[in-house]
């Protein structure tokens, strides 16, 4: 019986998050923000349980995984369970971190249940140790300015283009490349 309830809860969660993501991918920002917020809580719980010996890394990794979900959102296929996609990303980022730190002993928990990723939720964010603002400040202007104006100050692409003298397509490309560069910087490779 207990198993059934768990599965039902998982289905509801899966459907809800998927709806929010699909609305977000169609351009609905509020739904997308809600998706990322709820997802971050699941990622936090998922990663916290797997980084028992590295509690300080959890929030940094949550941010890294969120950035990866955003940058790689075009690889989600609506025909695929959302949990499988999210789980694969979270697992990849977790293994990547451990590989970087070469601390494979902390893998004291099997990592292969896609259901686990939505089964718990943790909204209590610790302080991230790494400051993304600092990394952002290091990006070249043609990436940094589009991100600062459209993603932090909330200007439209058109307004940013007028303000910076860049073309509208250069703004869009700058945001895309800048966020990818940010993800690489986090990994320590740029």
């Amino acid at each position: 019986m207990q198993r059934t309830t768990r599965e039902e809860g998982f289905r509801t969660k899966e459907d809800r998050l998927k709806t929010l993501l699909m609305r977000g991918l169609a351009g609905e920002n509020a739904a997308y923000q809600m998706f990322l917020t709820e997802l971050s809580a699941h990622l936090r719980a998922f990663l916290r349980r797997r980084l028992i010996q590295l509690p300080d890394e959890v929030e940094d990794l949550v941010q890294e995984a969120l950035l990866a979900v955003h940058n790689q959102r075009h690889t989600y296929d609506p025909g695929q369970p959302l949990s499988a996609w999210v789980h694969a990303i979270a697992r990849y980022k977790l293994v990547d971190l451990l590989r970087r730190r070469a601390v494979h002993e902390t893998l004291n928990d099997p990592l292969d249940e896609a259901m686990d990723v939505f089964s718990n939720s943790d909204t209590e964010a610790a302080e991230a140790r790494r400051d993304l603002n600092k990394l952002l400040a290091d990006l070249p202007d043609q990436q940094r300015l589009p991100i600062v104006h459209t993603k932090l100050e909330g200007l439209s692409v058109k307004e940013t283009a007028e303000l910076t003298g860049m073309s509208e397509s250069a703004i869009k490309v700058g945001v895309h490349r800048g966020l990818k560069a940010l993800a690489l910087k986090i990994r320590g490779f740029l």
């Binding site: 977000g24 991918l25 169609a26 351009g27 609905e28 920002n29 509020a30 997308y32 923000q33 990322l36 917020t37 971050s40 929030e59 949550v62 941010q63 969120l66 950035l67 990866a68 955003h70 940058n71 790689q72 959102r73 075009h74 690889t75 989600y76 296929d77 695929q80 369970p81 499988a84 996609w85 999210v86 789980h87 694969a88 990303i89 697992r91 990849y92 990547d96 896609a114 964010a125 302080e127 991230a128 400051d131 993304l132 603002n133 991100i147 459209t150 993603k151 932090l152 909330g154 692409v157 869009k172 945001v175 966020l179 990818k180 993800a183 690489l184 990994r187 490779f189």
Partner: protein
């Protein structure tokens, strides 16, 4: 930056996804690469002089069928490996089928042949250059396909790089068929495969560093 601030940053502006879907992007990259490989082939190697007669020989189409189906199979693998959490069931089998088929034909032709003919069926006239030329022609395809994959999210970068390299090798080999005079199945099953494995191994090697995200 707090996680909530990161979330509002990511959600602000345009959250929709631009650009064609993965399958289309790989098809465009493979197509452009094939054009590049064809130009290289025409300039450096020329078409085989008896191409029009060869079109009537079943072995010519067996050869094309082998490399083209391997290209299709590796495109399938590339698409699966580009997407986190996609099932990899059957990928190995689909990749193995064209190879096993050409090996079966090769084994049959070796058994069927006169013992003195066997080494010719295997070595042909061009075994020394064939793998190198296929690897050379795969360069433009490889560059285009690898670039697309760098914008995807392979969670197994080494395997994904291998598949991307194999795809470029198979497309290059298809182009190479229009030049290559060899018609022995044992030749195709070994030297062609070797040529296609060169970019695949380079892909696996590069994937472990350049396909991480």
């Amino acid at each position: 930056m707090k996680t909530d601030d990161l979330i509002s940053m990511l959600a602000k502006g345009d959250s929709s996804v631009a650009g064609p879907p993965a399958g289309q992007r790989y098809a465009i990259a493979g197509g452009l690469g094939a054009v590049g490989a064809a130009l290289m082939m025409l300039v450096l190697l020329q078409l085989r002089h008896d191409l029009l007669q060869a079109l009537w020989l079943p072995m010519f189409w067996v050869k094309i069928g082998f490399v083209a189906s391997l290209a299709g199979a590796s495109l399938f693998a590339v698409l699966r490996l580009s997407r986190p959490g996609a099932s990899l069931d059957g990928v190995m089998l689909i990749l193995a089928l064209p190879v096993l088929a050409i090996w079966a034909i090769a084994a049959f032709s070796l058994i069927d042949a006169d013992p003195s003919e066997r080494s010719r069926l295997f070595f042909g006239d061009t075994w020394m250059v064939c793998p190198l030329l296929i690897a050379l022609l795969s360069t433009p395809v490889y560059l285009a396909v690898f670039r697309v994959m760098q914008d995807m999210a392979p969670t197994r970068p080494r395997v994904a790089g291998f598949a991307a390299g194999l795809l470029s090798g198979a497309i290059a080999a298809t182009v190479y068929c229009l030049h290559c005079p060899e018609m022995g199945a044992p030749f195709i099953g070994f030297w062609y495969l070797l040529g296609m494995l060169v970019p695949a191994l380079i892909g696996a090697w590069q994937g472990s560093t350049r396909l991480r995200w």
